[in-house]
């Protein structure tokens, strides 16, 4: 793809199983342009989360190539992979993965501080936009699921990443809350011109993104197409 920001080429991945290796991804090709939003759908076990983890440099493929902003993942050590995530990627998990001992405000600024580019104004704007004003001094356990996911989104965006990777970000939320959270995510992604790769079960939510790719048994089943 021309001007693609994220390039995934011929990526395969398998995990050890009791009857030998279990192949999860089989020669997957995928690309994402800067500012583009892409939904990755598929059944349970189809390899969606594995592909997202590989794109986030949380895991390494058995074969194939992954490049982000021209940087090839293969051969990067733990520190370089960590730096890549810190500098360029914002992660949103289904389980929120907030640090329970930090307040909402501290959680939001955590990645930006780790990256050394904390912007208090940006954090404040995100808090405002996500409706978290009343809870900034609370701890995650004192928040509802929807509020926790909004904190996770704010944390991902506060570090000004070029790419947001979201794994079932509404999976733990009811439909109405999920819709609200996704709308906020899409609005903020559009405002910051970040790319978004989102894993979801829901075709309804997937249709709200600019493109959709379906994974089935570790392969791209539906070619990338406009929604």
């Amino acid at each position: 793809m021309v001007n693609s920001f994220l390039n995934i080429e011929s990526v395969s991945k398998s995990y050890p199983g009791s009857d030998g290796p279990v192949s999860v991804l089989r020669g997957v090709d995928l690309s994402l342009a800067a500012g583009e939003t892409l939904a990755l759908t598929g059944e349970s076990g189809s390899g969606k989360s594995t592909l997202l983890h590989l794109a986030a440099a949380l895991d390494a493929p058995d074969s194939g190539s992954i490049r982000l902003d021209g940087v090839e993942f293969a051969g990067l050590g733990d520190s370089d992979r960590a730096a890549l995530r810190r500098e360029k990627i914002g992660l949103v998990f289904q389980q929120f993965n907030l640090v329970p001992s930090l307040t909402v405000a501290a959680n939001i600024s955590l990645q930006a501080r780790l990256a050394g580019r904390h912007d208090a104004d940006l954090s404040a704007r995100l808090v405002e936009r996500l409706g978290l004003n009343a809870v900034v001094d609370r701890y995650p356990e004192q928040l509802s699921g929807g509020q926790q996911q909004r904190v996770a989104i704010a944390r991902a965006l506060a570090a000004r990443p070029a790419l947001i990777l979201a794994d079932e970000p509404t999976g733990n939320l009811d439909e109405a809350t999920g819709d609200t959270v996704l709308s906020l995510l899409l609005d903020l992604v559009a405002e910051t011109n970040a790319g978004l790769l989102m894993v979801t079960h829901s075709t309804r939510l997937a249709d709200r993104l600019s493109r959709r790719v379906h994974l089935s048994q570790g392969r791209i089943a539906m070619p990338a197409s406009a929604a």
Binding site: L58, L91, V99, L110, R113, L114
Partner: protein, 800 residues
């Protein structure tokens, strides 16, 4: 980045102050117990060194008479005239009714440098030191009194042992009433061309020992204390390990999140190391303060013990030494590092994805338990081999160490096998679940249970030893102190009058006479014993030839104490040197608890012939028991002798028992502290598990078991585990006691005691460990009973 990571890590402790308190408490207690014992040891050793330095007794050879009498001044003058560099010393004591002061008089003009001591270095008014009435150099503690009356001016000086004074020889002569030197110090470098001293004089030349007698004798006591300190430190580290394990376990998800957000593993580990080091340093400082307090509290007991058992004078107070504090801090950091190592390793190996599954963890734990079982067997075999082939005190402690560590490692195996059996035997489904669930918890609880096992075993071992000691010692006192009254006179003249006065008023007046000699090249004592049924019927002989008493009183044989017999590996019938001209065969061996030195008894007539100058001022008096108090009063009134010179049997027994009670008061205090620390370790582990166990408990709750029942089961489970640990600690503790009595005690003190068992103490200890278990399990159980259903439901909605 590191700062942000540290902020994030420290935020955990702000939210979990109880956990932080537990970690700080564990580290502080471990440091306190270890450093407290080290402080006591260091203080006591410094005290011996001061004594040795001041008196120069360790560093220089000396000339003395074989019979222990003073060296004639003419001998000294002859040696000086011949060109030998020798220097006279008068050593004696000044006493009053309530105080005594050891006097060491030296001649600074001829004394070798090593004997002058730090006190004589510059700044001293030498004119006053040399000329009458002279002055006495004493430590500040001694100067504070109480002191005998009519002493010359006191000058405070460092480096002088307690209750001792260094002075000029003329002052010492005046104070002690002794004109001839007690011994002559020999300078290490003698003028060339002189014949060896042994050819120039009949005096006996004794070479300095590498360690002083006191240091050698008290080494065993300090080794005992060190072993206890180490055990307490190890038990304290169990708490630290549990608290750190809990903190790491609770933050595992956060670590993963931090890494996912871009914190490199190396930075995470660095931040964790910094975090633990900071906490360790702060806790260590608190521990040092606490250790100082413990040491200061125990010091009077230790001083009493050392004085009572060994005659070693140690001040009952503690001085602060920065080196001790710094070394304690280093030990704390090393201990924290050891306790953190496993958690750090787990964090380093933790995959960024796929959280560890409890089942996989349990499987890994199963493999660990098998390895622990094998390691325990290897240690038991090693223990047996060392017992069989090892020698010396270090071998004794190696037996103890391998036995204890082996038993600790065996505990999880023992519990797992036992619970497995019960699980298979039971048919009630809930009980089956409880057994299976308990088995699954053992890996998480094993460290705390090991700590409890060690504390219980140490408790049983030491209390059995103390009990055996006390029982045997009391029986021995009854035999040994058969006479009703023990009377001393001020001098020989009064003693003769006293004996004549007592003769018609008592059934028998038995002389007590002794003198210092060297027995098999070490300082010892020889006693003269009069032929009387008191001794023949009561004296506690461990082994003897059939005609031992007849041969003893005929002057044909000698009785020796058990210490000398064991130390020199002697045999009945073997001859030992009493004086240069006399050797006698050993006819019997008697027990002599509480005395570290060699001792021999010969017949009274032979004693008087060999040592005619030994003063006879003490007697054992046989009277009907009921007449003893009146006779004692009559003696005091008639002869105006001080109270302490007339003692009845009951008084002496009380005094002797007090010495022994004091000996074990220190270990008793450490025992209680160790048990308390083990209880805390159990509490920490249970709290750790409580927070991790919701996924196991929630399904059981969901299928119809009330939270109260689950909470009660948790409590009962802790009690069960504590009781099982206690059951295993019994044989371990008894084995420990046996090793202490039959191996360590013989090596350290020179005597062996028959082992007695005290089942009532075991039951008391069972009660204590159950109380500890209930206290430790109460909080987690209460929390479980009050866990809101919503929290339990979260288990089903969230992956943990």
């Amino acid at each position: 980045m590191l700062y942000s990571a540290l902020q994030s890590l420290f935020s955990h402790w702000r939210r979990q102050p109880g956990q932080l308190a537990m970690l700080v408490l564990g580290l502080a207690l471990a440091t306190a117990l270890w450093s407290g014992v080290q402080a006591i040891n260091a203080e006591a050793r410094a005290s011996y060194d001061r004594a040795a330095q001041t008196l120069g007794q360790d560093s220089l050879p000396r000339l003395s008479r074989a019979d222990g009498q003073p060296v004639p001044l003419s001998d000294y003058i002859a040696l000086r005239r011949a060109g030998y560099l020798v220097s006279p010393v008068i050593a004696g004591e000044v006493r009053s009714t309530n105080a005594r002061l050891r006097i060491q008089g030296i001649d600074p003009l001829t004394a070798p440098e090593a004997a002058q001591g730090p006190a004589l270095d510059g700044g001293l008014d030498l004119a006053a030191f040399f000329t009458a009435p002279g002055l006495l150099l004493v430590s500040p503690g001694t100067a504070a009194g109480p002191l005998p009356p009519d002493l010359p001016r006191l000058v405070e000086a460092d480096g002088i042992p307690p209750n001792a004074a260094l002075t000029d020889i003329s002052t010492a002569a005046r104070l002690t009433g002794q004109t001839d030197p007690s011994f002559l110090l020999v300078a290490p470098e003698q003028p060339r061309g002189l014949p060896p001293l042994s050819e120039a004089t009949d005096l006996v030349l004794s070479q300095p020992q590498e360690t002083s007698d006191i240091a050698r004798l008290t080494d065993s006591f300090h080794l005992n204390l060190t072993a206890f300190g180490l055990l307490s430190f190890a038990v304290g580290l169990f708490i630290v390990h549990a608290a750190i394990g809990l903190a790491f376990e609770q933050r595992r998800a956060s670590f993963r999140t931090l890494r996912a957000l871009g914190l490199p593993l190396r930075s995470l580990l660095t931040a964790l190391a910094l975090e633990i080091s900071t906490i360790a340093v702060l806790s260590g400082l608190a521990g040092i303060a606490l250790g100082y307090a413990i040491a200061a509290a125990l010091m009077p007991g230790v001083a009493g013990t050392l004085r009572g058992l060994y005659g070693a004078t140690v001040p009952g107070t503690l001085s602060f030494d920065p080196v001790w504090a710094i070394s304690a801090l280093v030990i704390t950091l090393l201990g924290a590092a050891a306790a953190t190592a496993q958690a750090m390793l787990r964090t380093a190996r933790m995959p960024l994805l796929s959280p560890a599954q409890p089942r996989a963890w349990a499987q890994a734990a199963g493999r660990t338990i098998r390895s622990q079982g094998i390691a325990a067997l290897v240690l038991f075999i090693a223990s047996g081999l060392i017992l069989q082939f090892g020698h010396g005190l270090v071998a004794g402690f190696a037996v103890l160490a391998t036995l204890l560590v082996g038993a600790a490692l065996m505990l999880p195996v023992f519990l797992t096998v036992l619970l497995n059996r019960v699980e298979k035997l039971t048919r009630a489904p809930f009980l089956q679940w409880v057994m299976a669930d308990t088995r699954q918890q053992i890996p998480g609880l094993s460290l705390a249970l090991m700590a409890l096992l060690l504390a219980l075993a140490a408790n049983i071992g030491v209390s059995t030893m103390v009990g055996s000691f006390r029982g045997t010692f009391l029986g021995w006192l009854d035999q040994r102190l058969a006479a009703e009254l023990y009377v001393g006179a001020r001098d020989e003249e009064q003693a003769i009058a006293l004996a004549e006065w007592l003769a018609p008023r008592s059934e028998a007046v038995l002389p007590i006479i002794s003198t210092d000699v060297r027995l098999l090249d070490l300082p010892g004592e020889v006693f003269g014993m009069a032929d009387h049924a008191t001794y023949r019927d009561n004296w506690p002989l461990l082994s003897a030839t059939p005609d031992a008493w007849d041969r003893l009183f005929a002057g044909e044989a000698v009785l020796i104490n058990e210490q000398l017999f064991r130390r020199e590996a002697l045999a009945l019938g073997q001859e030992i040197v009493i004086t240069d001209d006399l050797t006698l065969p050993i006819a019997g061996v008697y027990s002599d608890y509480g005395n570290p030195s060699g001792q021999a008894i010969i017949g009274f007539d032979l004693f008087r012939a060999l040592f005619p100058d030994a003063p006879l001022t003490r007697f054992a008096v046989r009277v009907p028991t009921e007449d003893a108090p009146d006779l004692a009063s009559a003696i005091r009134e008639t002869f105006d002798v001080p109270t302490e010179l007339v003692r009845n049997q009951a008084q002496i027994k009380r005094f002797s028992i007090e010495v022994f009670e004091q000996t074990f008061r220190v270990t008793g205090a450490l025992n209680v502290l160790t048990l308390g620390v083990a209880g805390l370790a159990l509490l920490t582990s249970l709290l750790t598990l409580a927070s991790l166990r919701l996924p196991q408990l929630a399904p059981v709750w969901a299928i119809g078991t009330p939270r109260k029942v689950l909470a009660r089961t948790e409590l009962a489970r802790s009690i069960l585990l504590a009781a099982l640990t206690w059951a295993l600690s019994l044989p371990v503790g008894l084995a420990l006691a046996w090793v202490l009595l039959a191996v360590v005690n013989v090596e350290a003190f020179g005597w062996r005691l028959p082992m007695q068992v005290f089942p009532a103490d075991w039951v008391k200890l069972l009660g204590l460990s159950l109380v500890a278990a209930v206290l430790a399990a109460s909080l987690p159980s209460l929390r479980l009973a009050r866990t809101p259903p919503a929290r339990l439901l979260q288990v089903f909605s969230q992956e943990r």
